[in-house]
Subunit: 159 residues, 2 copies
């Protein structure tokens, strides 16, 4: 069970865009974002498109255009970013194997309650989602040494 | 991010083996376990091998041999089963992109603390693992209607 590396990229790009807003250097062209973390630009563009579809980033057209956050960083959670990149579907999917084979002829009422295994897997995923939902891009930005944020601003303003 | 369907199979097989122990019909040949849930036997055998490597099931040789639980069902958690099938590695892996590109020349001390994003992803996974670790095969067995467990015992004793 692996998350795509795009999640790491997208989360870092969101934090970076938040820093750049504070320094008035957003929007930023996707190619410069890619260069900032040494990422392959075409693949990063795909992640940015996913973030934009999810309403996390937006694309500003024009010569001074580029990408910027579409809403305040304290209203973008890590869950939002993960969902934008990985999709909404749960990691565990129940195919109702309990109703097959030896149980194919059992009455439906035996399976009226959700399967305990599926239920336990879902609660665990919910615990995971809750934690991710409790952390925002603003929190993540605040937990980074300020020298790193300053350096990013300088890097982008010296374009 | 998808878990393999083998997790659903393995969890159900563990609960089933626990029921069969109570009815004194374990060990059970892998082919009969596959038939019980209408699963492809060769692929189920792979999951059983993974469970055995993890010390969750064991294989009893001989004519009346087969598979059985290797320890009490209240000492096998859903986390154990997931880890046996999916491996130990975390879903999110950090490739330290924060140290690349514009930060490649930054002093190491700026990165002494783990990245906040990686840290948040890890805590969320830990919450998920904790929940799975809190649910045992014995719990899951207890939450199934007893008619289903009885039916399974009858099915296997009429071999
Ligand atoms: S039937 Fe799907 S997890 Fe039980
Ligand atoms: S450097 Fe990997 S998540 Fe931040």
């Amino acid at each position: 069970m692996k998350m795509s590396e795009g999640v790491e990229w997208a989360a870092h790009v969101c934090v970076l865009l938040h820093w750049l807003e504070a320094g008035d250097t957003a929007p930023v062209p996707a190619a410069r974002l890619a260069e900032a973390y040494d990422l392959p630009a075409p693949y990063l563009v795909k992640q940015l498109q996913a973030l934009t579809r999810a309403g996390i980033t937006e694309s500003v057209p024009g010569v001074r255009g580029g990408v910027r956050l579409a809403r305040p960083a304290d209203r973008i959670s890590l869950m939002d970013v993960v969902t934008a990149i990985e999709g909404r579907s749960e990691a565990f999917s129940c195919t109702e194997i309990r109703q097959r084979g030896m149980n194919a002829e059992r009455p439906a009422r035996d399976f009226a309650k959700p399967c305990g295994i599926a239920h336990a897997m879902r609660s665990a995923e919910l615990a995971w989602r809750r934690q991710l939902a409790a952390t925002t891009i603003a929190d993540l930005s605040a937990s980074t040494p300020s020298t790193v944020a300053q350096h990013a601003r300088r890097h982008f303003s010296s374009a």
